[in-house]
């Protein structure tokens, strides 16, 4: 018999990991507020417990708004924003291609700007708003750039695609999509080994030319 249910181990719909992190955070925070200063002195700014990430070498806590949802997390400060998304938030749409800022697969928007999530520690993004590929579409309606990528076949294997799309949206927002040459230059931080470049450029050109809101 054929069953359409997901395979064992596939990503569940809800994000259990994040929820667990939330609960642990609240526990620790209530201890801290009760006056048990387990955090080394000097790292806490008076009255800013809620705003400033604090912590020792093992754990820091931070608040991030990811795709519109506020998340409070306690993490190892060595965790990059990319690894926080992929390993601790169940948001694997953002890809790890090189982990050295040389491929663009990890591109996300932070406070509206495209950045490489592999080259920033998550803790440094405390208080900011992060949008990933999962947060680009509103509900079931794909973002125009996503539609255009499908229409123009702007990918093959799909691995660089989320980064290309996030970058493509920024490229238009930054006003750098006025010609094919300009798009090529301002998209050059996103590598594609399958070689979908011309199709990607065509997708961006179409979204730009149609004047769709991005």
């Amino acid at each position: 018999m054929f069953e359409e249910k997901p395979l064992n181990g596939e990503t569940p719909e809800n994000d259990d990991v994040g929820h667990q992190e939330d609960r642990r955070f609240f526990l620790k925070q209530s201890i801290a507020l009760a006056g048990l200063t387990f955090v080394p002195g000097g790292f806490l700014q008076a009255g800013e417990q809620d705003e400033v990430p604090v912590g020792n070498a093992e754990k820091v806590k931070l608040t991030l708004t990811i795709n519109g949802a506020k998340r409070r997390l306690t993490i190892d400060p060595r965790v990059t924003l990319l690894d926080l998304l992929r390993e601790k938030s169940g948001l694997t749409g953002t890809k790890k291609g090189c982990d050295f800022g040389q491929c663009g697969a990890c591109t996300v928007h932070v406070d509206g700007q495209r950045v490489l999530s592999c080259l920033t520690f998550a803790v440094m993004q405390h208080g900011r708003k992060v949008i990933t590929i999962e947060g680009l579409a509103s509900n079931e309606q794909l973002h125009p750039m996503q539609e255009a990528f499908i229409k123009h076949d702007g990918f093959q294997c799909g691995y660089c695609t989320p980064g290309q799309i996030m970058s493509a949206v920024s490229c238009i927002r930054e006003g750098r999509a006025n010609s094919e040459t300009e798009i090529q230059e301002y998209m050059s931080g996103n590598l594609c080994r399958c070689g979908a470049y011309p199709n990607i450029v065509n997708a961006i050109m179409e979204v730009k030319t149609n004047g769709q809101k991005v």
Partner: protein
């Protein structure tokens, strides 16, 4: 990556004190180079002082100069009205570097302090005098296609280093005669851009004449006539998103076809942005022509020394200078 403490100050003094008071503390701004180095085990700070919340982002006009805060992002600087108007050479150089995403993260201060891209520096399994003084330079006698042809020094020995400074922005800043404003535990000081970066000498591990507890506050660029006859030319192995094989920043003041002032700086040829004083001298007071530019470029190349794989730079560098001068002077 070694575990580290994280500290996010909001006041300049807090930041400087935090680094000064902790043995292995580092400032972190954009992180685009430092995090890379930390992942590879090349930098291993035990405390990171996140300076991104210090008030150092402003780009503003001051008396006789443009002042750019150390935390101004490369992308913001490259498209800032005042920069485009007064120092378009800087905008050109910035846009020639990295990628859209990286320019959105990298700061002016971080760009100035970025490490070389010598591949041996990044490979902790191999000797490198810059990473580990007196361990030897693997590029000497190794793969040195991307390495320096200037400023290597008279004698090549176990302390040498032939790495190049990778920045595009710094090449333009040197051409524009900028000054770096820094703050340390003892207060503020100004360093002329020409004196900021070092030649390797006996201490190739030091890139700049800056103490580790000093924080760059801003870059100051004096007002200049270099708004029209400027060009930044970058030669690379692919069309974009690659470090320069060589690059040239040209800034000329031309009056009735005669060169009144000339600045010519090269990137990708030395341990620091390399000002071509001798070439500038040839240009001064002369009438623009391709022939003149060729003479200047040849004068600039005096003293260049190639290694096994980078002899092509001896030809590419002068060619690039001539081309950049022609574009800047608008002759074809």
């Amino acid at each position: 990556m070694k575990p580290f403490q994280y500290f996010r100050p909001t006041k300049l003094k807090e930041a400087v004190d935090a680094v000064a008071s902790y043995p292995n503390a580092r400032f972190i701004a954009g992180g685009t180079n430092l995090i890379d180095l930390m992942k590879r085990g090349i930098a291993a700070p035990e405390k990171l002082v996140d300076i991104n919340h210090l008030p150092l982002k402003k780009i503003e006009k001051r008396e006789g100069m443009l002042r750019i805060g150390a935390l101004a992002l490369n992308s913001d600087v490259a498209q800032h009205k005042l920069v485009l108007e007064k120092h378009p050479l800087l905008a050109q150089a910035l846009n020639a570097g990295a990628s859209g995403q990286l320019r959105n993260m990298a700061t002016v201060g971080g760009n100035i302090l970025q490490q070389t891209r010598c591949t041996y520096f990044y490979d902790t399994a191999l000797p490198c005098n810059k990473r580990k003084p007196e361990s030897g330079c693997s590029a000497l006698g190794g793969i040195n296609r991307n390495h320096a042809i200037f400023g290597i020094g008279e004698k090549i020995d176990h302390k040498s280093c032939i790495a190049v400074h990778p920045s595009d922005m710094c090449v333009a800043l040197l051409a524009l005669d900028a000054t770096v404003l820094v703050m340390g535990p003892a207060g503020e000081r100004r360093i002329h851009f020409a004196d900021f970066h070092r030649l390797p000498g006996d201490r190739p591990d030091l890139n700049a004449n800056l103490e580790s507890n000093e924080l760059i506050l801003a870059v100051e660029i004096p007002d200049s006539p270099f708004t029209k006859h400027i060009h930044y030319l970058k030669v690379r192995d692919r069309a974009s998103y690659a470090f320069a094989l060589v690059s040239v920043a040209v800034a000329l003041e031309i009056d009735q076809n005669r060169i009144k002032t000339a600045r010519l700086v090269m990137g990708g040829v030395a341990h620091k942005p390399w000002r071509m004083h001798d070439a500038e001298k040839v240009l001064l007071g002369q009438t623009v022509s391709e022939n003149l530019f060729r003479q200047a470029a040849e004068a600039g190349m005096i003293g260049a020394v190639a290694s096994e794989h980078n002899a092509y730079k001896l030809k590419l560098a002068p060619n690039a200078m001539v081309e950049a001068l022609k574009i800047a002077a608008q002759i074809s």
